[in-house]
Homo-oligomer: 203 residues x 2
Amino acid sequence: MKATERRAKKTRLKREAILRSAAAAFRRKGYYGTSMEDISEQLLMTKGSLYYYFHDKEEILFACHDYSLGRVLEKLYEVQKTDMTPSEQLRALIQGLVDVMIDELQGSALALDFSALSEPMLAKIIKKRDEFERGMRAIIVDGVRSGEFRKFDAKLATFFILGAINWISRWYRPEGAFQAKEIGKAYSDLFLTGLANGTLGRG
Amino acid sequence: MKATERRAKKTRLKREAILRSAAAAFRRKGYYGTSMEDISEQLLMTKGSLYYYFHDKEEILFACHDYSLGRVLEKLYEVQKTDMTPSEQLRALIQGLVDVMIDELQGSALALDFSALSEPMLAKIIKKRDEFERGMRAIIVDGVRSGEFRKFDAKLATFFILGAINWISRWYRPEGAFQAKEIGKAYSDLFLTGLANGTLGRG
């Protein structure tokens, strides 16, 4: 690896460490209750070095959302490229989302409120969020069309499962009884069985 | 109505109006980002009158959670008293929760983080929350025992549906396409079909 590459990699890892720590602080104390000092102290950095990576707190909040949405969009593109059935695509996507929630930014960033962002950062995040939700809805619509799923409002179904997944950050503890694999399996089982055709009226 | 009763009723309504307004502000700006001035200004009250009802901001956050948890516990006690099947009980409870989310405190209070509370207020809220979650889990366990539901971890199922419901506050708009009745029906359909026995392996 060349020296410039090594430096770029180091910067990227440092930025991700900052985002992880900041997302945890935002969740604990709220965005407005967290200062740049809180974030730098947690990381044993000087405030000056923190400002080397991010201009202000808002840029950090933006980067948290941008990073997490980037990760879940990657998962979406991955399943879109396959020739799996809508059920299989959703199963893979749900597991991917659970993994991002739990492992990437300690389940924090996706569940953070982004209403504190101002334009144009807000618009960029909403655009990515909408792209993701549209992609997930399209898979559900496909499954309804193919008859694999029963007739169900794809928008409500998407809100339903994303809510369940985003909420994981509120109760998940790394030392707790459930790990990512098990949660992902249980959540896709419940959701896909709920949507499956031929189950109508059983509940 | 006697004068003392009238006064008590007026105080209660006023307190509820404060909680509604405060919960919306907490959701928008975060707990730490909201001041007593923000809350009183929003209500066109003086800060002095606000302090007549609540000693400080923490007491308001406590009262938001206490009020909402009180309402959802009422819904739980209601269905526990009936001789409905676990499915029917869950259906009624989910609709009740959706109603509380949307109508009572503008969907805000139940989804608010309560980690800002200090003891002994924190312990009181956690106790109520735990009582509610235990009650919901017990209904699911009953349904698994009776064979109405398939074998499923009641804790994960409860986290799943509560997440879906609490998330409503993030996307619900009174002027939007979905109303409480429709959301409640869709969410219980998905969840109960997902849990129903005889659907295993269909997803």
